[in-house]
């Protein structure tokens, strides 16, 4: 059975990832308290990106998907697509 041939993660790794996520949540809430003005969106989105990276790679197992590079390419691909959508829209919106 294919399902048995892959990497079983220890419970400990999941718990460590959870601790990391909780800490990042704390950081993001504190960062919101500082008055960073324009930079705040970038900071907050970066931290959100880090958190998602942790969820994607460990909870969703992407880091351990050896079989298909397809899985590992899908997510960066869709992120680039979204950045394109939003970025190109801003070429319009920002210059009105």
């Amino acid at each position: 059975m294919e399902e048995n041939k892959f990497h079983i993660l220890k419970y400990r790794i999941y718990i460590l990832v959870w601790v990391g996520l909780v800490m990042l949540t704390g950081i993001t809430v504190s960062a919101a308290g500082l008055n960073l003005g324009r930079l705040s969106v970038a900071v907050v989105l970066t931290i959100a990106g880090l958190k998602s990276g942790l969820v994607l790679n460990y909870f969703m197992h992407l880091k351990y998907e050896r079989r298909l590079w397809l899985f590992k390419l899908m997510i960066p691909g869709i992120i680039i697509l979204l950045i394109l959508f939003i970025g190109l829209t801003f070429f319009d919106v920002a210059l009105r």
């Binding site: 059975m1 294919e2 399902e3 048995n4 079983i8 993660l9 220890k10 419970y11 999941y14 718990i15 990832v17 959870w18 996520l21 909780v22 949540t25 993001t28 809430v29 960062a31 919101a32 500082l34 008055n35 960073l36 003005g37 705040s40 969106v41 907050v44 989105l45 931290i47 959100a48 958190k51 998602s52 969820v55 994607l56 460990y58 909870f59 969703m60 079989r67 298909l68 397809l70 899985f71 899908m74 869709i78 697509l81 979204l82 959508f85 939003i86 829209t89 801003f90 919106v93 920002a94």
Partner: protein
């Protein structure tokens, strides 16, 4: 005749669905970014009215539910079906808790007459009207996804109790886990953009 099973195919199918969900929310995030750019001050004002503590609590709840979901899959891989169902039940309960808190937030706002098309809301500046429109649509769509997730996980729980999901065949559990993690990720982005922007 033996059931045809395609583990890799099942997972590819789920990932493709998740990508379509990302595009669905992506469209709403696009709207959010455009209007936020246009009405930054109004967004800042309106966001201050949301309850940051409840928002943070909800974030922690979903993060923990993702942990219990992952542990549920790990434990069934290790052959412990009982532990796996306990973790799955915890995940479902966390999901319900999230929805309960969300409903508190919404009813509080509605009680103050702030809801889409309410006269009180329409009397405010255009940026604030847009903020709340986006708030209700995006957290509403997300909440709907959480609700569906709770139902799906409950069905999966029943399957697990009946033995259809076991140490050898658990792709159903894995795939619903993937869906659940995506719902968590979407909230990870929604939370700062609505509750924490300064």
């Amino acid at each position: 005749m033996e059931t045809h099973r395609d583990y890799t195919g099942s997972k590819i199918g789920m990932w493709l669905f998740l990508l379509s969900e990302i595009l669905l929310f992506g469209g709403l995030f696009l709207l959010y970014s455009t209007y936020r750019y246009k009405y930054s001050f109004d967004f800042h004002l309106a966001a201050g009215e949301l309850d940051r503590i409840l928002g943070t609590l909800n974030t922690l709840i979903l993060i923990t539910s993702s942990l219990t979901m992952a542990l549920s899959i790990s434990s069934i891989q290790k052959g412990d079906r009982k532990l796996s169902s306990l973790f799955l039940i915890s995940t479902i309960l966390f999901g319900v808790l999230f929805l309960v808190i969300k409903s508190f937030e919404w009813t509080a706002k509605i009680h103050h007459d702030i809801y889409p098309n309410s006269p009180r809301l329409l009397g405010r500046s255009p940026g604030e009207v847009l903020f709340y429109g986006l708030y209700y649509s995006m957290t509403g769509l997300h909440g709907l996804h959480v609700l569906v997730g709770v139902f799906v996980l409950s069905v999966v729980l029943v399957f697990m109790m009946k033995g259809k999901i076991n140490t050898d065949h658990f792709v159903l559990l894995e795939n619903s886990g993937l869906y659940w993690h995506l719902v968590d990720i979407i909230w990870i982005f929604l939370f700062p953009l609505f509750y924490l922007i300064t």
